[in-house]
């Protein structure tokens, strides 16, 4: 578990550093949806559980990406329209990500 934590922390930090130095902002924002956790997790999953298990995870990840699209689209709209605190919007909308992801799961993946 410690190894998983260290690998995940490292991969996420590398992608975050890239986002920090890239300009313009909208281009840097692409890295907000970088496959950093996925790369760390899939690499370890393949080693521990094999490629069939990891393929199933990747199939579900498509649903997670759809939920991420909904989440970031709403965050963009709310930040431009109402200018609230970033933490309030991005943390508050996590419930929308969860609902969207489970909606995709129950409609398509279940």
């Amino acid at each position: 578990m410690l190894f998983r934590f260290l690998v995940g922390g490292f991969v996420v930090s590398v992608f975050s550093a890239l986002a920090d130095v890239l300009r313009p902002r909208s281009l840097a924002g692409l890295f907000g949806a970088a496959p950093s956790v996925a790369l760390a997790t899939l690499g370890l999953t393949i080693a521990g559980n094999g490629v069939v298990y990891a393929s199933l995870e990747a199939r579900s990840m498509i649903g997670g990406a759809v939920a991420l699209f909904v989440y970031t689209y709403l965050a963009t709209w709310m930040m431009f329209r109402y200018k609230p605190s970033a933490l309030l919007v991005t943390a508050g909308l996590l419930a929308v990500w969860l609902s969207s992801a489970f909606a995709v799961w129950s409609l398509v993946l279940k």
Binding site: P24, T90, W105
Partner: protein, 140 residues
């Protein structure tokens, strides 16, 4: 505006901000593994695209942009929140690339070399995300 690398922004990043990102990244990876272990790969896979780091990153962008403006004597809150909105817009485009990453891994992992498939999937994410960004930039 041209695409550029602003290395000076790394100097504004404090050690605790690097620590927070490392911590959130590590915790997200551990949590995803535990969810997959408890509920199986179908549920666990959803969380490979969970925006675990996004609230922390957006808050840091807001803070940095506000501080930058305040150094020139301006309030900067409005500008900082616009910067967060632009980052979120970029992430929306990136999420389409992320779906492409997942499709490549799902379709090719069973029959191909693991590292080649993961590298190809990462390139697919980058290429599709940047292509959408360019299309939007030149056809707003």
């Amino acid at each position: 505006m041209l695409v550029k690398f602003e290395l000076s922004s790394l100097k504004r990043t404090r050690w605790y901000e690097v620590f927070v990102r490392f911590l959130f990244g590590g915790l997200a990876t551990v949590a995803t593994g535990m969810i997959a272990k408890c509920y199986g790969p179908v549920i666990g896979g959803l969380f490979l695209a969970f925006p675990a780091l996004f609230p922390a990153s957006a808050t840091l962008v807001e803070k940095h942009e506000k501080e930058k403006r305040q150094r020139t004597g301006l309030n900067g809150i409005r500008r900082a929140r616009n910067a967060v909105a632009l980052e979120a817009r970029g992430a929306t485009m990136g999420s389409i690339g992320l779906a492409a990453f997942a499709i490549v891994v799902w379709q090719f992992l069973s029959g191909g070399n693991v590292w080649v498939v993961l590298a190809t999937a990462t390139l697919a994410w980058l290429a599709i995300s940047v292509l959408i960004w360019l299309m939007r930039r030149f056809n707003p």
